[in-house]
Amino acid sequence: MTAQAPPPAAAAERPAPARDRAAPGRRRPVRRERQGPAYIFLSPWILGVVLLTLAPMAVSLYLSFTDYNLFDPPKWVGLRNYAEMFTEDPRYWRSVGTTLLYVVVAVPLKLALALGVALLLNSMRTGKGFYRSAFYAPSLLGASMSIALVWRALFNDGGTVDELLSGVGINTGGWVADPDLAVFVVVLLTVWQFGAPMVIFLAGLQQIPTDVYEAAALDGAGRWRQFVSVTLPMLSPVLFFNLVLETIQSFQVFTPAFAISAGKGGPADSTNFYTLYLYERGFSASHMGYASAMAWVLLLAIGAVTVVLFRTSRSWVFYANEEG
């Protein structure tokens, strides 16, 4: 990569290499000479991307067409993993159903709570910092296994929640052991971690100029009217951002479900989320090929949902520069 012999790719980019050579003192060749060190300093990241992301993805795509049990060399089976997944495996569809139910319930609840608390905090005059930290704390802790285990203990048979409910005469026998309720234990744990979207909402709310509200108030808009006609539209880019982020995250929910069901997705598969089932297929049942196929379907599904969200966003997300 010296000045005398420019790499062919770099040469092809420039329309008139002859002119550069004619004027060696100009900016471009100097910049080109400095690219070398830049790439050297970037190499850890480039290597990281290639070795830790792209290569594993390629391998996983290959494995998804094989039968691979970790011990023997992978056997090429074509589309059988995909066919088995869609046509022969009732557990697969149960895990899809559980995950969709979770996404549909948890994401709106979490965003609503985050927005609600952000609105409250935004209107506070004192102690904002304290409450902001207090509400954000669960998001920091929540991703950890230990909190999920505490959560499990709270909602388990004989746990605190069960005891309290029994105290007022509702005997649930523990939510964790009830296939109709167990998934909501996970939902509650996620919703409780509303801190991250809340902070983003808060930042968005503070961006809205107060004179817009004043103008609306002059026009006779009440608080609700102001919220619907000013806050929501002005906040819609932030709302959209949070929605996309939370949806993608929710599809990949793993830790809380793993901890709450002790890694089994039970009872009766009721907390067997997509990623949990994927993990079980890959690491407990040693069907890496099948797990890889599941991972690729998940990737495509998340991609599709994101595209749909972006499409619909055109009708409800307003950017300030569009309005002018």
Binding site: M1, F71, E88, P179
Partner: protein
């Protein structure tokens, strides 16, 4: 491990006077190479001292699963081994069964099985068939591993396609732990050899009819719901002349057989004779988490080694009964409780074999280990150990001998590879029945379909 002495002697580069920058500035390609090699070093840094030996010192790794008592005894035996072999250090690790099985599978896949690993009967086909275990034949032949005092049939459970890959650590059998005091209160005779499944159901009904209450006012039922146990189903099946597997890739029963078994337990659940769904679903293999351990049921289907967990928990009235029969035909068999294998990539197979031999054949090790892994496979050790036994341990030892007299079949061939997964599936699919999300027939169809995919 410890730092190599060589490092100290090299002069510290920081002290060297620096040469002017312009002269030392390396060509770019060289700089890139330096960065790359530094990265490569970083990446491979974890495997610094892989040899495990330095200066004639040998380090072995030894892993097992079990309860606290077993961990204590095994560590004690290992200490004794280290005392006798001063050049060998044994690094031990242990866990509960479920996490152990998962960890071992990951290690095996990476070609990094511990030098000595405790194995389940179910894992033999999987590991031996994929060359993760070392052939122990040469060590047996050379006398480094003594198997002369072993029961021949039991010994053969560690063989796969004619090659000895593992040695049994003990023999055990299934049965029912039951609370004799509760049985007496319900007016039920203690179970006798040859009792039938019908008598078993009736006994449970009588206990449930007492209307006892467990902790938190939950109803106390006759039996733990054994529909979750693949092992219990196997006994039930064998007492009807069938078996779990017909071959490496074929089931030995049909969905109808399984539906019949689950209908039997499901009906008892609906009657309140066996534990209820929420309690059944908490069964995890540890005695404390099952309905009997939580004082919610009078019996539990169990292997003999875990049975020893019950008397300390529930008192001396807990005894061990044989598995019920179908019209007098028993399905019970003597199985290796667990086995010991040597990793195929072990760098010190000789020392590993010595450790295995010590654990299984040394009288002093036998005294320490007792019957914590079932009746010792070395019959001389078993005889020696039995003399000091008392209480539940003695009962189990005698039970093992008695069971042989009732007539037990030789153990079936080691289960096929897929069985590790299917055992878990069995209890999971049955949960669909106890939570009334599927009928026994539907669940049985689902299980058989899954098993067929797993075995193909």
């Amino acid at each position: 491990m410890t730092s190599t002495p060589g490092i100290r002697r090299t002069p510290r580069t920081a002290r060297r006077p620096r040469t002017p920058r312009s002269r030392t500035r390396p060509p770019r390609a060289l700089a890139a190479l330096a960065v790359l090699s530094a990265l490569a070093l970083l990446l491979s840094g974890c495997s610094g001292d892989a040899s495990g030996s330095s200066g004639g010192k040998v380090t072995l790794t030894f892993a097992w699963w079990g309860n606290d008592d077993r961990h204590k005894r095994t560590n004690e035996a290992v200490d004794l081994f280290e005392k006798r072999h001063p050049n060998v250090t044994v690094r031990t690790s242990f866990a509960s069964y479920e996490s152990y099985v998962q960890k071992l599978a990951t290690q095996a896949a990476g070609g990094d099985l511990p030098d000595v690993a405790q194995l389940d009967y179910r894992q033999i086909s999987q590991y031996a068939g994929s060359d993760t275990l070392r052939d122990l034949g040469p060590y047996v032949k050379s006398g480094a591993l003594r198997t002369g005092a072993f029961d021949k049939e039991l010994l053969s459970t560690g063989a796969y396609e004619g090659t000895q890959y593992a040695l049994p650590m003990g023999s055990g059998t299934t049965g029912f732990a039951y609370d004799a005091a509760v049985f007496e209160k319900a007016g039920v005779d203690p179970p006798k050899p040859g009792w039938t499944w019908q008598e078993w159901a009736d006994a449970g009904r009588a206990v449930s009819d007492l209307g006892l209450k467990g902790p938190n006012g939950k109803p106390y039922t006759g039996h733990t719901d054994m529909g979750v146990h693949e092992d219990a189903f196997e006994m039930w099946l064998r007492s009807r002349g069938k078996q779990l597997y017909a071959s490496e890739d074929e089931l030995g029963f049909t969905a109808r057989d399984l539906a019949r078994f689950w209908s039997f337990t499901d009906k008892l659940r609906r009657e309140g004779v066996v534990s209820q769904a929420k309690d059944t679903s908490q069964i995890s293999g540890a005695v404390e988490s099952g309905p009997m351990g939580r004082k919610l049921a009078a019996t539990d289907f169990t292997w003999d080694a875990p049975f020893l967990g019950y008397p300390p928990l529930l008192g001396d009235s807990v005894h061990f009964a044989p598995v019920p029969t179908t019209g007098g035909k028993a399905g019970q068999y003597i199985k290796p409780t667990m086995l010991l294998g040597v990793g195929a990539n072990s760098e010190h197979p000789k020392e590993a074999a010595e450790l295995v031999d010590f654990l299984l054949n040394d009288p002093a090790a036998g005294d320490i280990l007792g019957v914590t892994r079932g009746v010792p496979p070395n019959q001389e050790i078993a005889e020696r150990v039995s003399k000091d036994l008392k209480g539940p341990e003695k009962e189990l030892y005698d039970f093992g001998k008695k069971v042989i007299r009732y007539g037990v079949d030789p153990p079936p061939k080691a289960p096929p590879r897929g069985d590790v997964v299917l055992q878990v599936s069995f209890s999971r699919v049955y949960q669909q029945v106890v939570y009334e999300r599927q009928s026994p027939a539907e669940a049985a169809e689902e299980y058989v379909a899954e098993a067929e995919r797993e075995l193909r």
